[in-house]
Structures are given as structure tokens and as C-alpha cells.
Symmetry: C2
Subunit: 329 residues, 2 copies
């Protein structure tokens, strides 16, 4: 009990250091400008910081996490800033005034502020990577951002395509979401001196966790209470981004019959709230939500299998709890 | 004569290498996507490549440019790709379907393609910087992109501000335009082993050249033949970006009287072609164009002074010719 408490305290101390590093890396002279406001906004309230937490927890499997704690907290900050930069740039593309009920960055501060805030953060991450001589990590993180771009581009190519497959969708989310999860795990393991076998296991674990994370996010449109209003929900569907619940329903003959006509209309005009509600009903009726939940459980089992093969340290328990949280719908 | 011909041939060979490096760094699997089309577009027709040329020419002042030619050609490619990435992202902000009569990138391929193409290029530059162990250059280039962001943000802050000064304008263009010119010169000098004194002189020379380049670009709106139509010209003015010719005219009492009412209207509504033509006439009448030309000559003299203080090698003559071209209006 004492040990676990100690571990918990240390993790919170480390996360405090990560937050300080993020502020240090993102330090700027933009006060009073809209770019400064974007940066204050995204850095003003730290979210769950799931990626830096994963990085630090994975480092515990190595022989020397404590010796490397400064570098680890720096890497964790860089991973989270990379995530924030990608959110800022995604907001430009969506062109939505809102994101999940909250004003979007470009809606609030304008496109120019969003472009430069994202570019600035990415530059700063690169600058500090080289300054801190984190060269291997710099190469890995650059490749990861590239994979994120590839995933986003793949998603853009599939938009409004009624023939898009679950496989294509999976490839896209592996790039846009999962790659930064797996990189967080890999960087933590690598930096703490894990063997290449353990590092690869943790990288793979991160990939599964990222996939579950995205599936869960996709489900929200079909399970959140907002959906009753029919407003602002199903933005992905309206934008022609067909997520797993839709694609799973579409794999059934009755789903195809019910959804294809709606999807064809969707490609040519803006759907009414009634049509969106109808689509939601059909996706649920044809098992799209149920099968997505099953997929989440399947990836959770794969991730658990990896965890079971690793040393049973206190941090493994914490990672298990993160997994449980993502699995519970 | 033979020597100069030889030098010229070597420069063209080096530029060929720079172009090959650019294609290598930007290699991607995006064929058939709009992001791929953006990259093909910006890499398909190489422009004047003024920044990489400057980098290579400045390296000739060092003791060992030939030994370092591979690294120099790599740096030159990275500087040009950084320039291209900034053009791509600038197009998102302008939201213009056209840029100087040609379709803009985001107008042609959409915002998402532009965001990811720019992000991708920047990531690739960083990746290769670390892979090629160009660490000092990586730090300098990161800081330069940051300065470019700061200049763009400064420009955004000044938009539609009738009290903006020529000093503020100069600060903004030093960031957004001039910083990459001075970095090109500095990186070439540094990598070729120039003394810190010569490196600093060449950096400063690049800064002056960049300023002249921007002044010249600003003049185009007032001197190009398109202006007769009143269409598509003066996009900067319409966007509330007041450039040197306007600010110089505004410094005279008669300019203030004539221009302030137009600028105040400009902040609240879209001006007619007639009003834009009137603005242009007033700027010319009040000496805005003439004084901008004088400023170009003043910076050309400062740049020449630096060149005169350096060794008189064949490449110095070439740099002088670049300067002459920029000075001739």
C-alpha cells in the first residue's frame, strides 16, 4: 500500500514537471495577439494528458527510469505538445465553429492564429529536441507526425466514399490517432533502457490503446446525450467521415439497404436533423454500435495479453486501469 | 573568363543537386491525393531558388566550400523547402482563390491538403536535419521559422490599423521575409567555415537583401500592369495590410488627409475598384512609391558596403548581380 502510494505521488510530481516543461517549451512573446490567446487556451487547462502519462508509466519497465526522469519528462511534454499542435491544425480543416460543444480554436481566434500557433508549437518541439540532444527521439517523433499526416490525408481521400472499408478506416486511424500513442509508449521504454523486445511490446500496446481510444471517440456520437437534439452531433458523418459504427452496420445487408441512400444524399447536400437521427437509428439497429463495442473488447484483450507478458510492477496496474477505463463504455 | 565560366558551371551543378535533394526530402506516398498534388505542384516547377543560391554563393567565402558541398546542397534544399512550406501555409490564411494571378494552393486543392502538405514538408526538413546530423543548422532554422511566425503574427495584429508605423512594418517583414534570407546566408557561411566576423557580415547582408526583396514585392501592386484593371491587385491593402508605399505616403500631411478616410472605410467594408484606384493614385501622388524606391536604394548601398568589405571572389560578383537585379525597379 505504502509503495503504491509512493509511486502515485512520484507520478504526480513527474506530471507536474511535464506541465512545467510544456510551458517552458511553449514560452512566447505573443501576449495580446490571437496566436498568444490560442496558446494560452490550449496550455491553460491541461487535459487528461493520457499520452505523457503513458510515456512515463512505460518507462517504469526499464532498468533506469529514475536516472532518466528529466529527459523522460521532457519527452512527455514534447509528445503532448505535438498532440496539441495537431488538434490546433485539425480545427482549421474542420472549419467548424464548435468541437464537441466547445468553441473550436479557429472559430474563436481565426484561421491565421491557428496556423501559426500550430506551426510555432511544432517548431519549438523540434528546437528543444535538438537542444536537449534527444536525436533518436527526434527522428521517431518526426516520423510519427508524418504518419499522422498520412492518416489524415487517407481520411480526406475516403470522405463521402460509400465504398470505404473498415480496413481503410483502420489504417487511417492508426496514422492519425494511434501512432502518437504507440510513439509515447516506445519513447518511454526506449529512453528508460528497456530491451528491444519489451520496447516493441509496449509500442504495440500503445497502438492497441490508441485504436480503442479512437473507437470510443467514434461511439460518442451514437451514445452521448446530445444526440437527442440532433444538433452538432454526427459531425463526422456530415463531413463524410464514416467511422466504425457506420461501417460495421454497412457490412450487414439490412444496414447497406438502410444507410446507402442516406450516404448518397449526404455526398450531395446537407442532411436534415431528421435524416441524421434516422441514420443513427439504423446504425444502432443493424448492430454498428454493438460490433464497435465488441471490437473495443477485442483490442483490450490483445493489449491485456501484452501486459500479462511483462513484469508485474505497480505501474503495470496503473496501465491496466487506464485500459479498463477505455474499455468501459 | 574561363574561371568565371567554370564557377558558373559548378553553381548549376550544385543547384541540380539542391533540386534532387528537395525531391528526396519531400518524397512521399501521396500520389493521387490532393496533398500529393500540392507537393507535386510546388516541387514541379522550381522558381528562382534565390535563397538556396544565396546559401551556396555565401559558402564560397569560406575556406572549404568544396569539401562541404554535399552538406551545403542539403542545407540549401532545406531552406528552400522551408520557404515552400511557409508559402503553402500562408495561402490558407489569405483564403484567396488567386495569388498574383495564379490559382492559390488552398483555392486549387482545399485547405486540408494545404495544412498537411505544409506540415509534412516541415517535418521532413526536421527529420533530415537530425538524420544528417546538421544540429547547429537545425537550431538556427527552427528559430528562423519561429521568427517567421512572429513576423506573420505581428502583421496580423497590425491589420486595418490606421496608426501602424513604418517601424512596425519593418519589424514584421524582418520576421516574415528577411529572416530566411539572412539564415540562408548565415548557414552557407557557417558550414563552409567562415570566421564569425564574415558569417555575421553575410547574415546581415542577407537581411538587407530580404528587406529589399519585400519592398520590391510591395511595389508590384503599384507598378504592375494589372493594376489598370483594378482587380486582384492591392490584395494586401484590401486585407488591411498596409505596406511601405502606403505608410510612406501616410507620413506626409497630404497623404494622411487623402488616405485616412479610405483606410477607415477599408476596415469596415469591401472597397470598390474605383476607391482602390483612388488610393493608388494618392499613394503615388504623395511620394509613397518614390520613397519606397529610395529605401530600396538605401538598403542596396548598405548591402554593397558589406560586399565591398569582403574578399573579391567570383561569387561576390554574382551576389552583386543579384543585388543589382533587386535594385532595378
Amino acid at each position: 500500500m505504502t509503495e503504491r502510494n509512493n509511486a502515485w505521488i512520484k507520478e504526480e510530481l513527474a506530471m507536474e514537471q511535464v506541465r512545467n516543461n510544456m510551458l517552458k517549451i511553449a514560452e512566447n512573446s505573443f501576449a495580446g495577439t490571437s496566436t498568444g490567446a490560442v496558446l494560452d487556451d490550449v496550455l491553460g487547462s491541461f487535459g487528461k494528458m493520457i499520452r505523457p502519462r503513458l510515456l512515463l508509466l512505460c518507462s517504469a519497465f526499464g532498468p533506469s527510469p529514475m536516472e532518466k526522469s528529466e529527459r523522460l519528462c521532457m519527452l512527455a511534454a514534447m509528445v503532448e505538445l505535438t498532440h496539441l499542435a495537431s488538434l490546433i491544425h485539425d480545427d482549421i480543416i474542420d472549419e467548424a465553429p464548435y468541437r464537441r460543444g466547445k468553441p473550436s480554436i479557429q472559430g474563436k481566434y481565426g484561421k491565421d492564429a491557428a496556423v501559426y500557433a500550430g506551426d510555432f508549437l511544432i517548431e519549438r518541439v523540434h528546437y528543444w529536441m535538438v537542444k536537449e540532444q534527444l536525436f533518436d527521439a527526434a527522428l521517431i517523433l518526426s516520423k510519427t507526425v508524418e504518419d499522422m499526416c498520412i492518416g489524415e490525408i487517407g481520411q480526406a481521400v475516403c470522405r463521402y466514399d460509400v465504398n470505404v472499408t473498415a480496413d481503410q478506416y483502420l489504417n487511417n486511424i492508426k496514422g492519425k490517432t494511434s501512432s502518437l500513442f504507440s510513439t509515447a509508449c516506445k519513447l518511454g521504454a526506449m529512453e528508460a533502457g528497456c530491451s528491444s523486445d519489451v520496447t516493441e511490446k509496449l509500442r504495440c500496446f500503445g497502438e492497441y490503446l490508441g485504436i480503442m481510444f479512437q473507437f470510443r471517440d467514434d461511439l460518442l456520437d451514437f451514445t452521448s446525450s446530445e444526440s437527442a437534439e440532433g444538433k452538432e452531433t454526427h459531425k463526422d458523418f456530415r463531413d463524410g467521415i464514416y467511422t466504425l459504427p457506420v461501417l460495421m452496420a454497412l457490412e450487414t445487408p439490412e444496414g447497406k439497404e438502410a444507410l446507402l441512400p442516406i450516404m448518397k444524399e449526404n455526398a450531395s447536400r446537407s442532411l436534415s436533423s431528421g435524416e441524421i437521427a434516422q441514420m443513427e437509428k439504423e446504425v444502432i439497429r443493424c448492430g454498428g454500435v454493438k460490433r464497435t463495442v465488441e471490437e473495443i473488447h477485442r483490442y483490450a484483450a490483445l493489449a491485456t495479453e501484452i501486459l500479462d507478458s511483462l513484469e508485474d510492477i505497480p505501474e503495470a496496474q496503473k496501465i491496466r486501469r487506464m485500459l479498463d477505463k477505455l474499455e468501459s463504455i
